[in-house]
């Protein structure tokens, strides 16, 4: 993975830059000791590492503003960081960059149940947002798998999704407003708790901009009343086609499950060996979860059962109690861990139209044989967001490169059938150079113009999202 050469001028001025930051921020907010910087050399895309020039851990919006202003004056690139759980390298630094972490900014600033919003500092973890409103019967809907660790700042940067977004949408659909600090230190409020912009929807483009437009320090989030209950069913099928048809029929019937998860045979087998959830050994497995009162759950599940049985499943398993419901989810929730037991893996995130599912799975199987690497598929079937897990051996020379080449072919296939490169993880550095598969030059030009306005010097997370050659002239400016 190529990254731009560090700015030698910045490296040479390190002492002065750090001194200026120390003068502006509390002592413990500036980290520049090499051994302490190791923590920040990568995020969850661990294959690539580079320690930053320094790392900053401010506690307030004003401190963020002061730090950014200094970096702007000094021409230092800044890489914003939430909890560092990005699978796409969104928070990976370069040697000449400063990491600006919001981890210490984790306070709840306001909860308003009547108007159904919460305002938090952006370093707060996703799950602890729900935790803060749980006692009153509310929750925050987007639920990425990393929700125990990931920060709202990163969720906003990547427009994170989760298993339940079929019903509740992703981050952008649940974000009401932000306090954003621009690279030059200007503090801007976009949106607000009333949930509709007065003019252009700048909040809409900030969400998902991968930390390239500004540093979000505070956010107003929509909170929702918790449903009375939820229950999953498990359905096993002999073929991917039939499982895909079943998903389509459920959606067409007007039932809106909160989640429809899909696992294929390699993934089922790996999971069984690891978690022993008692899944049937079949070609494709669906976990479908519905919500409501007892009677509402029963009504929806009866309808789903009727549809599923028409597709002749090898198994239709209902949960009689909470314990059985947990067992249905057990295998799915341990799928990534199970695959990790077998081998190193790379998790992809392409999204496809649901109708292309059988074709795409068949092609992935063929490519798996061609590349000589195993792959298991686990994904959010209701919205077509795939997570193929390619297994490889990090210690075997050439295997990572082969895995990356295989991954790139899968993502190209996703685009070819009408989908996209990434459904919820973001582009980062990982998919940066594939952007031209999905977008024509003028499409990327339009996006980069937005960054030109928010960050004219291209100092915020600059070497991400767009292919290096595409952004070269702007970064040099």
């Amino acid at each position: 993975m190529q990254m731009p050469d560090p700015d030698q001028g910045v490296l040479a001025r390190k002492a002065r830059i750090v001194a200026r930051l120390r003068a502006a921020l509390p002592t413990d907010a500036v980290i520049d000791a090499p051994e302490e910087l190791r923590v920040y050399e990568c995020d969850a895309l661990t294959a690539y590492r580079c320690p930053p020039l320094a790392a900053l851990l401010p506690r307030t919006t004003e401190e963020v503003s002061a730090a950014l202003r200094i970096c702007w004056e000094e021409g230092v690139p800044v890489v914003p960081r939430g909890s560092g759980t990005s699978l796409a390298g969104g928070a990976m630094p370069t040697a000449d960059s400063v990491i600006l972490g919001v981890a210490r900014m984790n306070a709840v600033l306001e909860t308003d149940y009547e108007n159904r919003f919460i305002r938090v500092q952006s370093g707060r973890t996703n799950l602890s947002v729900s935790g803060a409103v749980e006692a009153e019967g509310f929750f925050y809907a987007p639920d990425p798998s990393s929700q125990l660790a990931c920060a709202i700042a990163g969720n906003i940067a990547m427009n994170s999704g989760g298993a339940h977004c079929l019903k509740y949408g992703v981050t952008t659909n649940n974000l009401l407003g932000v306090t954003l600090v621009r690279m030059d230190g200007t503090i801007v409020t976009l949106g607000g708790p009333w949930g509709e912009p007065a003019g252009l929807d700048l909040l809409g483009v900030v969400c998902g901009s991968e930390g390239q437009l500004g540093v979000v320090t505070e956010a107003w989030l929509r909170i929702l009343p918790k449903p009375e209950g939820a229950r999953p069913v498990l359905v096993g099928f002999d073929s991917n086609e039939v499982a895909g048809a079943c998903v389509s029929d459920i959606i067409k019937a007007g039932i809106l499950p909160v989640a429809i998860e899909f696992m294929d045979r390699p993934c089922i087998r790996a999971t069984e060996a690891f978690a022993k959830a008692g899944y049937p050994d079949c070609e494709a497995l669906l976990i479908i979860e519905v919500e409501g009162s007892e009677a509402e759950i029963a009504e929806q599940l009866a309808r789903i059962k009727q549809i599923a049985l028409a597709h002749d499943p090898v198994e239709f398993r209902e949960a009689a109690d909470e314990d059985q419901a947990k067992r249905i989810w057990l295998g799915r929730k341990s799928a990534f861990g199970a695959m990790g037991q077998i081998n190193d893996y790379m998790c992809l995130d392409g999204t496809i139209p649901v109708s292309s599912l059988p074709h795409v799975l068949k092609r992935i199987g063929e490519m798996s044989r061609d590349f000589g690497l195993d792959v298991g598929n686990v994904f959010h079937a209701g919205d077509g967001n795939m997570h193929p897990l390619i297994l490889f051996n990090a210690n075997k020379p050439g295997d990572l490169e082969k895995c990356e080449a295989f991954g790139a072919e899968i993502l190209k296939l996703c685009v070819e059938v009408g989908g996209c490169l990434t459904g919820e993880h973001g582009v980062g550095i990982e998919k940066r150079d594939l952007m031209s598969v999905q977008f024509a030059p003028q499409d990327m030009e339009a996006q980069m113009r937005v960054k030109d306005v928010f960050d004219p010097k291209w100092l915020l997370n600059p070497a991400k999202v767009f292919p290096l050659a595409t952004s070269a002239a702007r970064r040099a400016g």
């Binding site: 952008t172 509402e296 139209p353 959010h380 009408g418 459904g423 499409d443």
Partner: protein, 360 residues
């Protein structure tokens, strides 16, 4: 000008020598923009519809009625309930789907599914230099590159002319019903909406006008009956239930702001906090239709009260004059936000030819 293909649209923009008044059917255009009329109503047709994937791709000039018809044939609909503002604004013409997106026009179901922009998956548009740009796509989860779809939705043509839009659509529910609550003053009547929306019973509409509060639930028949019972038990006042077509008619009135149609005075559209909605109206003393659980207020006032309206919503929302003697007026923005918006406009439309003067 009325191009019939995207290529013709791009040519028309590239060749423009002065300002363009961009519009679909002109049924919801606001602002003071002047210029040669550029209509998108010639760009029509469904490009792709997959009911099993809840996806629809249409050309921007397609009439809303045509989109509704195509979806209804598969027992589906646009989730965000397109308002028909012709009666309120005194317009004629055929509303287009591109105009809906450009206005981010969103009806009562906002409380459950969000705005029009939340249902938009992708766009194609022509920017101010005549270049065709695509963003987003046709899949429900897509974080590939910046989300210009949200930026274009609600931009009222000042950034680009939409040529195609893809939507996430929704299945028609099996049943719908509305609880009509009477005998409550505005403050208590709006509080009832907040109680309903704060409950786990998946309310899909909360509105108030003419002394009545309306609370809607939709879904499977058994579930609707159950939720009506649970909600009724939590509400005060005199509560009765209206079902089916009669319920749908109640919500068309809210969506299209029927109670304020054909009456004298200015019409304001105010976005605010539901808990502030009663007081904003009491202070200004006008005739109101509250939607979005109180968060959206349509207010009829005597002309010339702009300063009072601005003071009433300061710090808790914003107000747009949608109909008045002096035309319509968009709300002001904070200087640092206005600077960003101006910068974006200058990048997307460097010649400043799209709807000059439209938004602020």
């Amino acid at each position: 000008m009325r191009p019939v293909t995207e290529a013709e649209l791009a040519e028309a923009v590239a060749g423009a020598r002065g300002p363009l008044l961009v519009r679909g059917g002109g049924t919801r255009t606001l602002g003071h923009a002047v210029g040669e009329v550029l209509e998108t109503s010639g760009l029509t047709g469904v490009e792709l519809y997959e009911p099993g994937a809840l996806t629809l791709v249409v050309q921007a000039g397609t009439p809303v009625a045509e989109v509704d018809r195509v979806l209804a044939a598969e027992r589906q609909r646009l989730a965000f309930e397109v308002p028909d503002l012709r009666g309120l604004l005194g317009r004629e013409g055929v509303s287009t789907i591109g105009g809906v997106v450009a206005a981010n026009a969103s009806g009562p179901r906002w409380v459950q599914v969000g705005a029009c922009r939340d249902a938009c998956l992708g766009v194609r548009f022509v920017d101010g230099s005549g270049t065709v740009v695509k963003n987003g796509g046709r899949v429900m989860k897509n974080v590939t590159g910046y989300d210009l779809v949200k930026l274009l939705a609600g931009s009222r043509g000042v950034l680009g002319v939409l040529s195609e839009v893809s939507f996430k659509v929704q299945a028609l529910p099996e049943a719908e019903a509305t609880l009509v609550v009477e005998g409550l003053a505005d403050e208590a009547g709006l509080s009832a909406l907040r109680v309903a929306l704060g409950s786990p019973f998946d309310v899909s509409g909360g509105a108030r006008h003419s002394g009545r509060s309306l609370i809607r639930v939709e879904g499977m028949a058994g579930s609707v009956t159950y939720r009506l019972g649970e909600l009724t038990a939590r509400l005060g006042g005199e509560v009765r239930t209206v079902e089916g077509d009669a319920s749908a008619a109640l919500w068309r009135d809210v969506r299209d702001v029927v109670p304020l149609q054909g009456k004298p005075g200015d019409i304001w559209r105010i976005a605010t906090l539901p808990t502030a909605a009663a007081e904003v109206v009491a202070r200004l003393d006008g005739e109101a239709v509250w939607d979005w659980g109180g968060g959206l207020v349509w207010l009829r006032l005597d002309p010339g009260r702009g300063a009072e309206v601005a003071a009433a919503v300061a710090g808790r929302g914003h107000a747009t004059l949608v109909k008045g003697q002096g035309g319509s007026v968009f709300p002001p923005e904070a200087a640092e936000v206005a600077a960003l918006a101006a910068g974006i406009k200058a990048k997307f439309d460097p010649r400043g030819i799209f709807n000059p003067g439209m938004m602020g």
